[in-house]
Amino acid sequence: MTSCATDRSALPVVKGVAYFLAHVPGMVRHGSKPSREIEKDPSLLPQVVGHLWRFDQAVAYPPNQVFIGNLDPDDLLKKIPPPWFQYAVPHASRWGSFGEIMPEDEFYGIMKICDQFGLLSLEEGFAQGVADKLKTHPLITAEDLARVAKGIPLEQIKAKLANAETIPVYVQGTELVGCVERPQGGGAEDDPNLLPEFLIENLASRASGVMALRHLIKSTGRAEDIDYLLGCGEEAVGDRYNRGGGNMAKAIGELSGCVRATGSDVKAFCCAPVHALVLAASLVTSRIFGNVVVAAGGSFAKLGMKFQGHLRRNMPILEDVLAGAAIWIAPDDGQSPVIRLDSIGKHEISSGSSQQAIMEKLVVEPLDRLGLKLTQVDKYATEMHNPELTEPQGSGNVPRTNYRTIGSFAVLRNEIKREELDHFVEVHGMPGFSPTQGHIASAIPVLGHAVKKMRDGAMANTMFLAKGSLFLGRVTQLSDGISFLLEKNKGVKS
């Protein structure tokens, strides 16, 4: 780290950022919470289906437009009053400066492209229709299309569904178009880790990660220049002898032309992406690898996680998208924002798990080290969950609570007065706009906007902080967290 202070070429920069959303209302019923509740009370299913959105509605949803880069996060504060789901962005496009929102039929095609073991079957007419649609997609190749086009008759799908271990795949909520089944042979037929419930998660995660990475490559650089991929998703790929064994990173790179790359996965619950960014920056600074990409697909299990709150308020079930992200870390190019490796904040094993203790480690300590006040950070990127999704189920406004917590440190340190707390939150925070996709929601949705503003000279710095609830896995009672400061590039490439 010391040497990079005098050697600009070794500074790690964020060269590019891409995001991807797949609008998958047909999969909401398979999310962890909806599937458990529907099994207990089948009369819920028509209610779930009746509260699903069409694709054009999901595209025009303001937070989704912020996510893909067509709106600024502060537009949700200053231009579009809540409830946002009652406001359709005029002339909204599926294409954004950071990526796209894809409809579910096309996304099933991407899942089929990712399916190398015949797990997903699509009905033949549907498959051909999807292949025809994907022909015009700028990131889909002829080789991809050949994998999609071959379907099977609907009768065969129905016959497969007679097996209780097969999961139906729907579009428009109720139209059967395919299924995911348990693999056969090699002991897979009795391996509880290879149930279709897990395999569809893995396929969806890989597919959304592949699309995010392809968008990143299109906007940022050549696939063959990527040396190393760091996965940071929430899926657990593996079999009975290697549960969660992983390397989704390499699987995502395989289908994105990253022929020179290897990779591995970072696991740390929701804060894995920020851990991965710190590791990526370190690999670049140390010159072990020149170009490192952090990538993650979406969390299938979290679809419809708070659907009961949405039903109670008679609002659409807004947890209907899978999200992917990909971030390219490279040596200094004289333009791209710099990850300051002397700014890393970390929640240590001995830190304690109160919000106060976590935030002190992630925010206050690193800023003290850098000689910066809390008010000298332009924006803080924290858990960016869209409050419209979380509040109906009693989970509160997560980003606002985080911003008020950070601002409270500024109060206690006499940087601001108590009555200025709301103003601090407005200036240094932003409304939550991310789908509740766990790791994806955790700070990184802000990265694209921050990079854009720093390149444009409209922002000096942003602090990224992420927290993880390690105790959910019942292994340790610990919490986790990590942070870094992203800074506008001040110099010209050496």
């Binding site: 935030m359 509040e391 989970s395 509160g396 008020r404 440190f409 109060v411 206690l412």
Partner: protein, 84 residues
């Protein structure tokens, strides 16, 4: 006695309602189950007075600044009043 730590008034009231009258969201195992338990929030003055000031300072002082304790207490007060 249930001591809540929810970070905003709406969720605190929802959880208080849950342990007094049953889960109003009908989302969990307490749906339709009225336990009628006494409930408070850890930052209400009466509870704060029971905590060692040094411990409170270390773990809770910051969040007391961050949270709207008055609104949280109002919501819990409503639930308690309805119960009585």
């Amino acid at each position: 006695m249930v001591v809540l730590g929810a970070p905003d008034a709406d969720s605190a009231e929802l959880y208080a309602e849950t342990v007094v009258n049953g889960d109003p969201s009908w989302a969990g195992p307490l749906a339709g189950v009225a336990l009628g338990l006494p409930v408070c929030h850890i930052m209400e003055p009466e509870v704060k007075a029971l905590i060692d000031p040094a411990v409170y300072k270390q773990h809770l002082e910051l969040m007391e600044v961050a949270l709207d304790v008055e609104r949280i207490a109002e919501g819990l007060g409503r639930v308690r009043q309805a119960k009585n």
